[in-house]
């Protein structure tokens, strides 16, 4: 290997040292919860000396979590198996359905706002955007009583509807600007061929807008999985509680079983972590582009 000049070595050394510090800050809490989740209670509670890697890593905490498990309070004392299993299932249905609904609705309306002209268009667009900065409580308080009257409290459909609506404005905006910037000649050609609007969506717009739609889908998926306040209010039992809410119940009044709790936390953050590792480009773009344009 060719010897680099010492200044280059020095520069790289400083850069990697700083990267080490930054990565320690960003990852140490995540590392620690993963270690905790595969440790035995005896080792975890071995204060004042800490073991930074378990001497005998075990998956027992995860097995317990989904089979018998310790009991936690959720009204009555429920075994974690019922709570965690239901929580993961609810979160999966909730976030996938929300992401699908947001993607379909924002793509269709993005096309309408980008390409069609009609009366009141500007006003409708503005009214959709205007709900974004409304502090969530302004709607949620009365919404709770409305939803309970129509039987949509503690109901996955209710959660999906609310979260979809909350995510729509920004994503409609994203798809509007995305479709507006697509080249228009393919659409014109399709019109000349006598193509209808629905057919045009299916055969021209959706194939062209796929990268934008992917970003919208992934951001909505992440946002719904991570959401907490809406489900905390609108889900009252394991029938509809997503895993973020289930996790918050593990923090008991008097005692927390940290090893089981850690396993539950890892299960909760695993899907977002995988999304972040594999689809970072889409997520970062979807999460920042609106903010940049808005200011």
């Amino acid at each position: 290997m060719i010897a680099l000049p010492w200044r280059k070595w020095l520069r790289l050394t400083i850069i990697y040292a700083l990267c080490g510090v930054v990565l320690f800050w960003a990852l140490a809490p995540i590392y620690w919860v993963i270690v905790s989740s595969v440790s035995t209670r005896a080792e975890l509670y071995s204060a004042p000396y800490k073991v930074w890697f378990p001497s005998a890593p075990t998956l027992q905490n995860y097995v317990d979590l989904f089979t018998t498990g310790p009991r936690y309070r959720d009204g009555g004392f429920l075994p974690t198996a019922d709570l965690m299993g239901a929580g993961m299932r609810n979160s999966l249905i909730y976030s996938l359905a929300t992401a699908a609904a947001v993607t379909i609705m924002s793509t269709l309306s993005g096309y309408v706002f980008a390409r069609m002209r009609f009366r009141l268009k500007g006003m409708i667009f503005f009214l959709f955007l205007l709900m974004m900065p409304l502090p969530i409580w302004v709607s949620l308080i009365a919404l709770y009583f409305i939803m309970s009257q129509v039987g949509l409290v503690d109901n996955l459909l209710g959660l999906i509807l609310i979260t979809t609506t909350l995510l729509l404005p920004l994503n409609i905006w994203l798809m509007t600007t995305y479709i507006r910037d697509l080249p228009q000649d393919l659409e014109d050609a399709a019109f000349v061929d006598g193509c209808g609007r629905w057919q045009l969506m299916a055969s021209v717009i959706i194939p062209l807008a796929r990268p934008g739609m992917t970003a919208v889908f992934l951001v909505a998926l992440l946002s719904a999985w991570n959401s907490f306040l809406v489900p905390l209010i609108f889900s009252t039992t394991a029938r509809s509680q997503p895993v973020t809410v289930v996790l918050s119940f593990f923090i008991g009044q008097y005692e927390v079983a940290w090893e089981a709790m850690s396993a539950a936390a890892v299960m909760t953050m695993l899907p977002p972590m995988l999304l972040a590792l594999f689809f970072q480009r889409y997520l970062v773009r979807g999460l920042t582009v609106g903010a940049v344009a808005g200011t």
Partner: protein, 302 residues
């Protein structure tokens, strides 16, 4: 093109009507209802009392009482602690990742991770890290001889808000980092070359080129992070709020969003809670409207 045909009209209606109905039924109608409730004496603790119109007295009670101001002060404290921390850290990491070196992409991916996790999990992660009996921070400091006995980091009410700001910073610093990194990468390289030829040192280049170019990115990061930390809820809920299982909510970190939750869903004082939600809206109105008008202009330009 204008709507040429019956078919186009049906298309627009079929697309926009469901969305308009959702937004109206789930956002705007409840918002008006909440406003109406805020002008009454509705309280679910007294379900048999007739609901009467009481004018602005709920607002008056909130504005003249002590609690709302204490709560607002806590929210502003969180904002004041979080914003400088986040922006400084975001700028530092952005400057680091703006350098070229092997492995930069991996570092960027990993540094962003905390931002992608559910904030409610982040509150838990740090609660466990800072635990007084078995926490990792205690273990680390003890093993390095920096403390001689374990401490209950979160027990002291005076330091709780600081920890909330630190955890919020951990959760969100990736956002300013990315915005500032994009800003850095938009600076033309020849400016630096020219400055170097003119004999400008590292500091002068930062002061006269990097900093002015980054100001718009700073503004973006500031506004978004202001809203995020002003409306913080999830992180506090698992870190220091207490009362998850129905007990009292810890007053030390009771910020505006937690206070609103407590008023409505714990104390069942619906009318007062509704009034508070509108006061919070007024507080964040200027920032929010600015944001929306910019988005509207961007979205409707040709």
């Amino acid at each position: 093109m204008t709507l040429r045909s019956f078919e186009d009209r049906v298309f627009v209606l079929a697309v926009l009507l469901p969305i308009a109905l959702l937004v109206a039924a789930l956002i705007y109608v409840p918002a008006v209802d909440t406003l109406r409730t805020s002008l009454t004496n509705r309280n679910l603790r007294q379900p048999n009392r007739p609901i009467e119109f009481v004018g602005l007295s709920n607002y008056q009670r909130l504005l003249t009482g002590n609690e709302m101001w204490q709560v607002t002060e806590r929210s502003l404290t969180v904002v004041a602690l979080t914003l400088p921390l986040e922006l400084a850290l975001g700028l530092g990491v952005a400057l680091l990742l703006n350098e070229r070196f092997p492995g930069r992409g991996i570092v960027r991916t990993l540094v962003i991770l905390p931002w992608m996790l559910p904030p409610v999990v982040n509150g838990f992660l740090w609660g466990w890290l800072l635990n007084g009996e078995y926490g990792a921070l205690n273990g680390l400091l003890y093993q390095f001889g920096l403390i001689d006995q374990y401490r209950f980091w979160l027990r002291d009410p005076a330091s709780q808000l600081t920890w909330v700001a630190i955890v919020q910073t951990w959760t969100r610093f990736a956002f300013p980092m990315i915005i500032l990194l994009a800003g850095l990468q938009s600076i033309p390289v020849d400016l630096y070359d020219a400055a170097e030829v003119d004999g400008a040192g590292w500091l002068a280049r930062f002061r006269f080129i990097t900093f002015p170019f980054l100001l718009p990115s700073f503004a973006i990061a500031l506004i978004v992070e202001f809203i995020a930390s002003f409306q913080i809820f999830d992180v506090i809920w698992t870190l220091t709020a207490g009362g998850q299982t129905g007990g009292a909510i810890n007053p030390g970190t009771k910020t505006l969003m937690l206070y609103n939750y407590e008023l409505v869903f714990r104390d069942l004082r619906i009318a007062v809670g509704s009034a508070l939600s509108y006061l919070i809206m007024l507080m964040s109105l200027a920032v929010g409207l600015f944001f929306v008008v910019r988005l509207y202009n961007q979205g409707t330009k040709r």
